[in-house]
Subunit: 273 residues, 2 copies
């Protein structure tokens, strides 16, 4: 098992690498895991989400216990929505309540699969090889929006707000998910504690089946769905999601603030044309 | 009105700029529209989709005529799903039938809004300023998948396949959408012909309201939804979508082919860590 993290440098640059104790051994990138020879003290670095997914594929109804509680049949193909790249934050970054929304905000503790290689129409064996490692996801939802319109369930809107996809703190490669439990604490009180072995589609099956629908790229994340124990987060409350061997993803929900409009500021150049 | 296109060079490089006759006047990028001074003959270049969106926001039920036909009330907020970046192709590129899907594939001719500036919680005036220009979109759907599972409508899956988001051929800035009609032809037979003025949410209203949900980045595309006349595409058929002043987006549906798996090939490095 290796632990991989991403950090911001003081100059705004981003480094990715393998963490050993208090040191980061820098690597070229997640899909080119070649060491650069550079070693940095992590104490001088700001942690980020451990990857920068182009898209997050988020599953619904992927645990037998939750399907039983919802009284829904187990699906025959992964049921998913997409969360945009702009919704991603790392551990310890705040979740922001949208300025336009005063309703219920819900946590969902989930295992995250991080893709290491481009993957299309992969069989299960190829899919297993395409998994770089595992991380934790808090798949945050503005629950009152989901069925606000009776004719169109708004999955992408309710789950796509900025900061509504917490990922981290690290990616662990070579992790044995089959014997692990996921635990979600809300302000220190346990709310979820479920075995990952209760999944309907295993990680390799998810990657294989989803790769028949869309090409998965290195750094993309599949949020494997949650199980029972989902609940709402009050403003100011902290959600901590843990799996032994991966670590703890911790995020606090901030109350809405008047947001300065960015419309007149220059945009992001990277990757545009 | 200016016409903007993106092309691939013989060496795989990508250029973006303003087209005048048979020449491309290269610009830095869509959100930094500064001329580089380079002028290229477009005859030596391969056209691409005119922008490379990080995400495509695709609206449902945004025309009064379609809402009436569906007998659904007009929404009070844009109803949308997300199409992934990997689904985007340009004009004249083939739409590929997924290897795993033998069902009905449907065209939807739509106006596309191309974002020029980062945009969050924008009012309508700021939103109007954040629009770089307009393009055409064929929002392709694997229609039989939409309601395949009665408990979860699969919008992202049905509309997210590789090549299922045709965009192009150009972006036109300063375009007056209010007096224009969109025409869709299927193998030369007119199937859609509707006035853009029948939209429920105008482009600036869409950008403003959607920017309350998620941050829009330069190059992102909003597909404004379609109106009446949607229909299925047989394998080998060609869909042509036109708006006077923007041009014609033309794509042919190819039958499914055995696809070589990409799982064991190196992935994309760009923008990963």
């Amino acid at each position: 098992m290796d632990t991989w993290m991403r950090f911001m440098l003081n100059d705004g640059g981003v480094v990715f690498g393998r963490v050993e104790g208090a040191y980061l051994h820098e690597y070229e990138s997640l899909d080119q895991p070649v060491p650069t020879g550079v070693v940095l003290s992590t104490r001088a670095l700001t942690p980020l989400a451990p990857c920068a997914p182009g898209k997050v594929v988020a599953l619904w109804n992927n645990y037998h216990a939750l399907a039983a509680k919802l009284d829904k049949p187990v699906p025959t193909h992964p049921l998913f929505l997409l969360k945009p790249a702009g919704s991603v934050i790392g551990s310890d970054a705040p979740i922001h309540r949208p300025a336009s929304y005063a309703g219920k905000i819900v946590y969902e503790g989930e295992l995250g699969i991080v893709i290491g290689r481009r993957c299309r129409d992969a069989d299960v064996e190829e899919a297993a090889q395409a998994i770089f490692g595992y991380t934790l996801v808090n798949d945050v939802t503005a629950a009152d929006l989901l069925n606000e319109n009776p004719h169109f369930p708004q999955w992408c809107r309710a789950k796509g707000f900025d900061t509504f996809c917490c990922i981290g703190p690290a990616i662990v490669s070579g992790f044995d998910w089959q014997s692990a439990n996921l635990v979600t604490m809300l302000d220190g009180v346990e709310r979820q504690n479920y075995p990952l072995s209760d999944m309907v589609f295993s990680p390799a099956e998810q990657v294989s089946l989803i790769s028949q629908d869309l090409t998965l790229e290195p750094g993309d994340v599949i949020a494997c769905g949650t199980s029972v124990g989902v609940g709402s987060i009050k403003d100011g409350a902290t959600v901590s999601i843990s799996i032994d061997g991966i670590g703890t993803l911790r995020n606090t929900l901030n109350a809405a603030q008047a947001t300065a409009s960015l419309a007149s500021k220059p945009g992001v150049v990277e990757g545009l044309v």
